[in-house]
Symmetry: C2
DNA sequence: GCAAAAGTGTTAGTCCTACACCCATGG
DNA sequence: CCATGGGTGTAGGACTAACACTTTTGC
């Protein structure tokens, strides 16, 4: 995959952009990957533009690959943001002469609608890379509510809502957790996404009743206190169960 | 609201279109509004383009108003369709000289991504009007699976899936039924959307348990057999209940 | 051996399912 | 008066929610 840079905008379609809310889960915290702009010092979601002969999904995959280094990421379109004034304050259109970057102002200065995607990645596999307009690309806790540029805070919130409502229909646990994980870890993930606490014993009974997990003989060693068992997803059963939607609410 | 016509495309943004899946419910059938093109004789969803200073939601409202005559329609964005080749076969780009319509080929000939909306309308309030490229605008039964142009069959199916999954979170019954309706009518609507039959007595108990309906003293007269009671939605309770999502599955 | 986390079990109440019976209406 | 659809009720089983006790581990 060739790297796409903002300095050659000639192959991009006008008016259409996309933004990715990349979720990761680490140390019992739900995190989002954000860029920090060199010039304006604002935080922003990784995003990009649509190439002339590319689907939005492919464009999002391209952005994901460039920021995380990963292929085969779980990706879901969730909403288009099209308020007419939303792109007026795009920091990218500001002058970046001091960086030696030549920006195509005519391109950046147009009105953009942005298609929002959310992505689920395994935290430990990601090695974030900033783009050419940014000096950093880092995880921030969703709960910290960092101020983002333009309407990006809105985009994150809508992504969260969307993910929450699809918890029983999309393989969210599978994509956010490592291959092997403990029951308390899975529960924390659910609690974080749902924004509420769940009963430890009822959670375990319910999730096991779906038959989507394989209990392993190993336990998580090294931690303090009693070592919990490790589990892995039974992918075949998981997929089958998701087709009907996991039953019941949380 | 001024009528927007396809013969003046100068105010439209390039590359962006929208299509509306307009659902109605009549005589126990779920219906969709489709246009029939004068030149190509193909069926198509009502759609349009985005004006330079307009949100997608406003554009969709504009299209809805023009085709149905209605304001204040329930409208929901559900997906963007962006396969690169999808707009190649757009019949609108064909020559329509014989109709005396001057088409801006350069505009129609570009690649379009299309934002899909579904709309819910009260069947009896709609007076469908064709646009200037069509000779008819009529309801077709969803179950008839009429062949539509381009990827419009896909768009209808995705709209259905989306509406089905949101049945407990959006005021779908309220928007598709007239102000007063009977329990069997409401049940038929649910059965049609879900694609399966429900037990009459359990359905009634469950829907009443939500406290979202007011039972009226009137009954539906004129029909054969025992006359059913009329109900209306208790909008305040309905909205409140939807915020948490109606509990349980169907 | 103590504190904290994890494994396992029980019970009461609620909800869902699958039915049966009676009533009203038009032919 | 009968066929059909609509109004109402009930019993059994499944699932959920709330809660207690025991076990393991590091210090």
């Amino acid at each position: 995959m060739t790297k796409t840079v903002f300095t050659d905008t000639s192959k991009f379609l006008d008016h259409i952009s996309l933004d990715c809310v990349i979720f990761g889960f680490h140390e019992n915290e739900l995190k989002v990957l954000v860029l920090h702009y060199k010039t304006t010092k604002e935080y922003a979601l990784p995003g990009g533009f649509l190439l002339a002969d590319e689907s939005l999904e492919d464009a999002a995959k391209r952005v994901l690959k460039e920021r995380t280094g990963l292929d085969n990421i779980f990706l879901k379109q969730f909403k288009v943001f099209s308020t007419p004034g939303r792109s007026k304050s795009n920091p990218a259109i500001k002058d970046v002469k001091d960086l030696g970057i030549q920006i195509n102002h005519a391109f950046f200065d147009q009105r953009f609608i942005s298609v929002g995607f959310y992505a689920l990645v395994e935290f430990t596999k990601v090695h974030p890379k900033p783009d050419e307009l940014s000096d950093s690309c880092d995880w921030v806790n969703v709960t910290d509510n960092i101020e983002l540029m333009m309407d990006h805070n809105l985009i994150v919130n809508e992504a969260l809502d969307s993910m929450r409502s699809q918890l029983n229909h999309q393989p969210i646990g599978y994509n956010l957790l490592p291959d092997k994980f403990t029951m308390p870890e899975l529960q924390k993930l659910y609690e974080t996404i749902l924004g509420k606490e769940l009963d430890r014993r009822n959670f375990q009974r319910k999730i096991l009743s779906y038959k989507i997990l394989n209990k392993l003989d190993e336990r998580r060693k090294g931690g303090a206190y009693k070592s919990p068992y490790l589990y892995e997803f039974n992918l075949a059963n998981y997929q089958k169960a998701l087709n009907n939607g996991l039953s019941g609410g949380w």
